[in-house]
Each structure stands twice: as structure tokens, then as C-alpha cells.
């Protein structure tokens, strides 16, 4: 079984500063880490390999500095690593990013693709599902448990108040929640090995026969960022229990009136 884990290198904070002019992140001086959901995905892949055999390949699209994220993944136990890096890839939005990654994954080969649910710097949760769409394979997002049985992946998909247990035939893609697995640490000796391994770099030239340059990079990105902002945390709601339907209606009406909503 060949498992691919897509990881993203992100700034180590949920509240990085934004450049007010360009609405993009100011990354200078902020340490970089592997995105939390992605790391849980990597841990899941390593566990699946321990029980089912196979290999774990990590793939990261980013600038050459993203090398360290891939070394960290190798030091946690991944077998091989690919860096997707090229000037032409710069400025890609989620669509263009998914286009590039999907093209690279076709070249690398896979049975199961694991991505994080979303990255803490952009919070879009779009790249994983878009990769699956572009590859034409089934996908399950928001996965909090996963195991492999034969040629199927059995997953638990999280909802706000419930969960679905789904069976998906491989090849498929799942997007992992941080809750999926507590990532292991790197191993001291594997860090030494990680720097002796080759990180395979896939550039534009390696993909150009199957990649339309008009669909990648800043020019191939249909997204226009109008405004970026920090999410406001929702306050906990009020739970009113043991009310009859009539009492519940009255209680809700009272709250709506109290807050001048009606």
C-alpha cells in the first residue's frame, strides 16, 4: 500500500500579522511548522504502515525552505519525500495548488492520499477535496478515525453533532483532523538519517507535459482575496434543557426579543 501524505509548512501561530496593502501574510520572523492537521495525517499514515505494511511518502508544495518540513516528516518515519517547488507555482490559490499537486501525484503514484483538513494560515479546507476532484477519486473529509480493511478504508467522518462511518474503496483521499492522531516526535537518530536521504524536487519542467501553465501560479488562480481577517471566536451558546415544546418556543422568542433580533 502506497500512502501519500500532503503536508504544508505554515507559520507557527494562528494569528500571524497581515500586510494591510496586499492582504497577504507577513511570514518574516515567524517560525515555520508542519500544519497540525497534516501532522495528524502523517501519524495516521505511519500507524497504517505499521499494521498494514507499505510505504509512506510525504509531498509538500512550497519554497525551497519547506525542505525542513519534509526532513521533519522523514525523521518521524516517512520513507520518502517530494518537494514541489518552482517559480511558476508561486502565488497559486487553492485551485492552482490542487492542480499542481494532483498532477504530481499521478506521476508519483498512490493508493491512499491523506491531507490535512485545512491549514492554519489560510483556513480554506479546499486543497484536499480539490486534489481528489482533479484525480477523479472518492474523498472523505473531516476524518477523525481511519483504518484499512482489504482494499477499503473505513473512516469516521466528523459532523457538528454526529459522525458517519463510511467505507471507501482505494484509491481515495481523506482529509484528516488534528484529533485523528497524536503525532509522534521525531527520533534523534532518524534526524541524522533524514539529512542523508534525498528529497526529490519536482519542478515545472517535470510536470509541464501534463500541466497547463495557464491554470497554475498567480495568473492561473481564479481566487481574488478581497479581505483577510482573523476569525472571531464564537461564544458558547446557552443550553436550555427539559422544556416542553411550548416552553421552548416561548424561551426562544424571549431571547430573540431580548437581543433586539425581532
Amino acid at each position: 500500500m502506497k500512502i501519500i501524505v500532503c503536508i504544508k509548512q505554515v507559520p507557527d501561530t494562528a494569528e500571524v500579522k497581515l500586510d494591510p496593502k496586499t492582504n497577504t501574510l507577513i511570514r518574516d520572523g515567524v517560525p515555520s511548522i508542519i500544519n497540525h492537521d497534516d501532522k495528524a495525517g502523517l501519524e495516521t499514515a505511519l500507524k497504517l504502515r505499521e499494521t498494514r505494511g507499505g510505504t509512506v511518502t510525504v509531498v509538500c508544495m512550497g519554497p525551497p525552505q519547506a525542505d525542513v518540513a519534509l526532513r521533519e516528516a522523514l525523521a518521524m518515519g516517512a520513507d520518502e519525500a517530494y518537494l514541489l517547488s518552482a517559480r511558476e507555482f508561486g502565488g497559486s490559490d487553492t485551485y492552482a495548488t490542487a492542480t499542481i499537486i494532483a498532477t504530481a501525484l499521478k506521476k508519483i503514484g498512490f493508493d491512499l492520499v491523506i491531507t490535512g483538513r485545512q491549514a492554519i494560515d489560510g483556513d480554506t479546507a479546499q486543497v484536499g477535496p480539490q486534489i481528489a476532484e482533479q484525480l477523479g477519486i472518492p474523498q472523505v473529509s473531516y476524518v477523525e478515525e481511519a483504518r484499512v480493511e482489504g482494499n477499503d478504508v473505513i473512516v469516521k467522518r466528523q459532523f457538528e453533532d454526529s459522525a458517519h462511518i463510511l467505507k471507501v474503496k482505494m484509491p481515495c483521499l481523506i482529509t484528516a483532523l488534528a484529533e485523528l492522531a497524536q503525532p509522534r516526535y521525531m527520533n534523534v537518530g532518524k534526524i541524522v538519517d533524514a539529512y542523508q536521504k534525498e528529497i526529490k524536487v519536482i519542478g515545472f519542467d517535470d510536470l509541464k507535459t501534463s500541466l497547463n501553465p495557464d491554470w497554475i501560479g498567480i495568473n492561473g488562480s481564479p481566487t481574488n482575496v478581497v479581505k483577510s481577517f482573523t476569525k472571531q471566536a464564537k461564544v458558547a451558546g446557552t443550553l436550555m434543557k427539559d422544556l416542553t415544546p411550548d416552553q421552548a418556543v416561548a424561551a426562544i422568542m424571549d431571547k430573540l426579543i431580548e437581543r433586539h433580533i425581532i
Binding site: 516526535y185 534523534v188 534526524i191
Partner: protein, 381 residues
Amino acid sequence: MDFKLDKVHLLQQQLFRTFAETEIKPLAKDMDENEKYDLDLLRKMQKYGFLGIPYGKEYGGCGSDTLAYTLCMEEVSKVDASTGITISVHTSLACSCIANYGTEEQKQRFLRPLVDGSKIGCFGLTEPGAGSDVQGAQTVAVPDGDDYIITGNKIFTTNSGFADTFVVFALTDRTVPAAKGLTAFVVDRDMPGVQVSENIERMGIRAASNCIVNYDNVRVSKDRILGQLNKGFKIAMGALDCGRIGIAAQSVGIAQGALNEAIKYAKERKQFGKPITAFQNTQFKIAELQTKIDAARLMTWRAALAEDAHEKFGPLAAMAKLFASDVANDTTRYAVQMMGGYGYCREYPVERMMRDAKITEIYEGTSEVMKIVISGSMKLK
């Protein structure tokens, strides 16, 4: 000359720091109060390779180096000096004797389980009557057929409460001075006659295990002798040279950990209408201490790099330990002072760090012994 860590060491430092903050720091206070090391924590460190850092992969180690080991020692000691000494005695004292003097067969048999993390090692040299002066040693090993019978008491044997493998020094020739009659043996905990006392009550590094070990007619076969008969003194001194790099790094960690805690507190602590870090007296003292800590760290790294390059490093290790242990004591004492009454309270970690710092001037050669080693290398006589 380059004072920057390379990529491998930077990533290792990141691992040690994250692990120390996440796994060790939350346990440090309780382990100190209970005077007991958390063996689950030890197993976790074994799993991630913390106990075989500078040893080759051919023996199950990490294939890394002494510099990486000092980074580990500093990061763990920033949050808990007891963890530092636990790793240090295992790595620098027990493992180094076998790695440097063991035969290939002995390395596979005794070193492999120590560096792959399945066993813990300790080192028995100090006796009630033999500390800085090894001349007072009374533990003997008497030949009996193909075996030796070891009898005697060793005190302050770090890790002995839970260690599996003991490197023990015993006199095999009592007709000559101890330095010429000591032999190094590898003893297993479960051998008949090995008795380990309760943890000795101490001022600092209270979570570490430090006991009296009584060897009562312990029978060991000749193939457990490390190096040559009667040449154990050199083995012990060589191990202590290695150990001093670890203690220097531990001292740097204690100092930096205490200063970081004090700075964090001082930025928030307001007196006379402003945070106490806004006062020049505080700023100057912090600047002075950070300068000394950096100097101590660079001296430690210099000694580590010399060991990695197979150069003579004993005096460099002694200088690093002499200076760094002094810095650790100065810094922790000031950290408590800067935090005032709160610093003196057990709620904050700096009082523990101050208690822990003292031992760095005493064990693995006192500061006075360091001066003997350093001056001895300077051809003054």
C-alpha cells in the same frame, strides 16, 4: 570557524526543546517533591533515541555526536536537571566506558541494549572513603577460578535505583596505589549479592536516583572486565572527561532555564508603576548573566567538538564544567532574587533550579578537581 549549528543539529535541538517543554516540564515539580523519577518518561525518552545519541548505529545508537548530546542535555536541563543527570550518567559514564574500552563482543552484549534504550546504565566509582581522592577505594575484586568476586560499597551511584547494568571499579591489586590497581567490571543488577539502598535524601536533583550499592561477594566472570586488568583508573578518568561535557551542558541548561523563567516573570511583575524589566538594574543584570551563559555554552560546544574530532578534550571539558557550573549557581541565585518572595516559593521552578545547580560544582569532579585538571595541562610545575 562557524558558531552556528548545522541543519541536523538545529532540528535535533527543536526536538529536544519541544519534548522537554511538552513531556518533561509538566512532571518536574512532582518528581522533585516525590524524590522519584518517572520511569514512563524514561521509557518515552528511550523510544525517541535520547539514550544513545553519540553512539553508532552498528550498536543500536543514533549515529549522532557529542554536540547533539550537549544540545539534549541543555534542553532537558532547562526544565529539569534530574532528567539531565539521568541521561548523562547513562550516556557519558556507563556507555562510554564500554564503547571506548569494550571488545566487539562486549559492545554487542553490553553496549547495544544500553544505547538502543532497552537497558539503563550506571557507574560505580565513588566510595564513602574515596571521592576526589580515589586512593581511599576499598572495593576489591579477588580472582576465584575463571571469575572474580567483588566486595565493597559504592556511594552516590546515580541511576542505581533502576539501572540494569553497572560499570563498577574494584581493586584487583592491593599492593600498589589505587590508581594502578583498579579494574573496571560490568555487573548486572540481578547478580546475587548486588544490593541497592533507598534513594539518598538530597538538597537538589531530587528526582534522580542516587543510592548506595553494596556488592556482597558478587561473582563475575573474566569476560566482564573492560580493558585490561589493573588499568581501570584510566577508564574511569576518561569516562569522567566525557561526563564533564554533559555536566557543563546541564549547567548551561539550568542557568538558561532559570533566566528564562525570571525574565518571563519580570516582564509581568510591576513595581513602582512599571514592569521590573524596565529598570536598568534588572536589564544590566540580565545582560551580564546572558553573556556568561553564552560563554559557557560556547565552551561546552568547544569541548564537544574536540571530543567528536578525537582530539584531546579533557582540559577543555574541565574548563567548560568549571565555568558553566559557576554560571548555573550565579544565575539561579539571581533568578530567585529577581522574583523575590515568589522566587522563593515552591510554586515557581527557580528555587528548585537553585537547589539543583549546586551539585554541578560537586559531582563528576568538584570545581577544585577541575582546577587540578586544567592547571595540570598547563605545564606549570
